[in-house]
Symmetry: C2
């Protein structure tokens, strides 16, 4: 298997870095992986991909492990893209699609980043990994670490949904509840690196999670016959997904695999309870300030400060996109709307994108005939606390009042 990584590159200054050693940040900022795309173009064609297994590792030439023996996989990727006529009709969009990332290991898109990050940890001989998490990333990391036989430490806010606590602990990770937010957890992981000798796989603090998230963009292009939608709505916590997709589109364009050079307008969606990227976008800044008193029902969006702020904002602006904050109090309503209309288990973070689609359609920023794709980043099943259930009860199965049933 030939290998196409040429070097790593500091995102803040373009510095060329050695791809053969483990990196975290460069000048406190993220690092890109760069490939010899001319060589990739000679080595593989879109037609070659068709016969490969339906996982994200089909894009092997655009992924960083040096050899296949490093790959730590749970069979992730090639998630379905579903047309949503019923939801589209409800919000006035004729050509609405959802890419359903709930159908991934651990039920969220976080698996994409973790399969690649943990594979690279294996390549570099890492035995112990640590992560701060707002929710799903911790469970995904714990799963891949277990699959690799690595020791895993997970730090999460004390009020992180219990399922995220459970899934990480079930996979044998050492899970700590922290009185604070994800950035406080991030400080713990960083502070412990010396004493604990773990590798820090925080969002965008190592170069490889983004390469895994990039495959969302590769997949959607391949699945759509190497075309792209007009608009992509993406919930933004740490921002790896949006940035990763934008990187994917750039690579695909350079490879010449896309049928058109026109790229989607990227929309970063946040909750009005935690909207640092939206504030920075609106103020014209390249960097975001910490969002004070961050609070949202969409736990994955509770990221008050992102180390990749400038590359998120760069991507949004380059794409002609926008950043939008939606009402936190309406997120469960949009969840019910989307799940009820299409049967897709839309999580709160992605329900925020439904709200954003409604707002952007109403304002005219999205035209009714545009092809709009939104990501369902995780399984709604992981968020049972978001809906207060008061279900009718049948005490005697032999005595059921059918009028009462039909009125329920």
């Amino acid at each position: 298997m030939p290998h196409f990584v040429t070097h790593l590159e500091g995102a803040i200054d373009g510095a060329r870095l050695d791809p053969n050693v483990a990196h975290t940040l460069h000048k406190d900022r993220p690092i890109w992986v760069r490939y010899d795309l001319d060589a990739v173009r000679r080595a593989v064609t879109p037609a070659d991909l068709q016969s490969r297994p339906p996982t994200l590792w089909r894009y092997r030439e655009l992924l960083p492990p040096k050899d296949d023996a490093s790959i730590v996989s749970l069979g992730e990727g090639m998630t379905t893209i579903l047309r949503c006529p019923r939801l589209g009709q409800a919000i006035g969009l004729d050509n609405l699609w959802i890419k359903d990332e709930s159908q991934l290991p651990t039920g969220s898109f976080k698996s994409r980043g973790q399969t690649v990050a943990i594979s690279m940890c294996k390549q570099f001989g890492v035995k112990r990994v640590a992560i701060p998490t707002a929710g799903n990333a911790g469970g995904a990391m714990a799963a891949y670490a277990a699959r690799a036989g690595m020791e895993a430490y997970v730090f999460m806010p004390a009020d992180t949904p219990v399922i995220n606590q459970f899934e990480a602990a079930l996979c044998g990770a050492k899970v700590f509840l922290v009185d604070g937010l994800i950035n406080d957890c991030g400080k713990i992981v960083r502070a412990g690196t010396a004493a604990m000798q773990w590798f820090d796989i925080s969002t965008l603090k190592e170069p490889y999670r983004i390469e895994g998230k990039k495959t969302m963009g590769l997949e959607l292009a391949e699945q759509s016959g190497w075309t792209l939608p007009d608009v992509i709505l993406y919930p933004t916590g740490g921002g790896t997904g949006l940035v990763g997709m934008w990187k994917a589109f750039a690579e695909l364009r350079e490879l010449g695999w896309l049928k058109s050079d026109k790229l989607p307008r990227m929309v970063s969606v946040q909750s009005d309870g935690c909207a640092p990227i939206v504030r920075a976008f609106e103020s014209g800044s390249r960097f975001a300030n910490l969002f004070p008193n961050a609070k949202t029902i969409a736990s994955g969006l509770r990221v008050p400060v992102a180390v990749g702020d400038f590359i998120i904002l760069d991507a949004i602006r380059e794409s002609g996109g926008t950043a939008i904050a939606v009402e936190d109090g309406k997120i469960t309503e949009w969840m019910q709307l989307a799940c009820g209309a299409e049967g897709i288990a839309v999580c709160p973070e992605s329900a925020a994108c439904v709200g954003a689609a409604i707002k952007l359609k109403e304002s005219g920023w999205i035209r009714p005939d545009e092809k709009v794709l939104l990501f369902n980043c995780g399984a709604a099943q992981k968020y049972p606390h978001t809906l207060k259930l008061d279900l009718p009860r049948i005490a005697d199965p032999a005595k059921v009042d059918w009028d009462w049933v039909s009125r329920a």
Copy 2:
């Protein structure tokens, strides 16, 4: 699209039934769907399948809808099969594999049955569906009914895991909690058919869920190069999966697609808290008695009586397989073992299969070198109540005692 269903067949008496009308039971027993397999053989080859999308609908010729317009899909199928060296080593099996059904819509294998059953409801013009459920089937049915725009009624025991309640309600189903078990819920659905005019899609009470479950067998054959494992371990509640796979193998053998005529030994796994099939198997009976006081932490196994008992028992016996009950009190231990060893989110029902593999390996019924496949039928994430968490807490992120962390 040509259509290959020739007729339906009563499982109890072989009676030939009309495939063009909706059926529930025949003489209170399940109904098979039969195909013109000679015509299928002429219409499609294994090589043709390779270029089709990775969903269970790639086996279109072996599925019942008359035309594609009836298909109600959430992009289900082609779940990964993972080799499990670490778990295998722990239990003394050199060639152990898990097919991970947690990576399906709604996080369980129930989606397979529901996509086909609801598609057939759409074909027959059904507008309202009802189901009794021990857990995941209700959520899956609600999702596909939402996708189809049908009205859905779900009846579940009052102590069904809250996530199953939530997921069904979130998709807009009318969910009722019943003081009783799944068979009590089944009686309600049956009793309400006249007053409520709903279609009853209880396990094996209509002919099509089994056709969806059949695709587990089709997939595993295709994914293994048209070979099959020596032993399949499968948790048995209603039994559709085991019976469906056995039907798949028979069809594949008749099609001539399998490289060997040797079929797997099918192992039905139940909990000692609810083991009607195991009792019937051990007593040599073709039919099972109601298991009294059914109680198990694996909610999907809490099925005290199965309308398809005889076809489950027939399949086990024809295959040279067995039925085994494992200790309910050890199920969470096996869950932790499997999840910690491989990072696969093994649900309690499938953890019972891990226990069965250990017992059957110890007894010599499974040899260490045999290829053994077990199914992970659902996402462990849907069962957070099965593990009592007592996680360590960090009150001040700025003051962390690393010795304490390393001892955790």
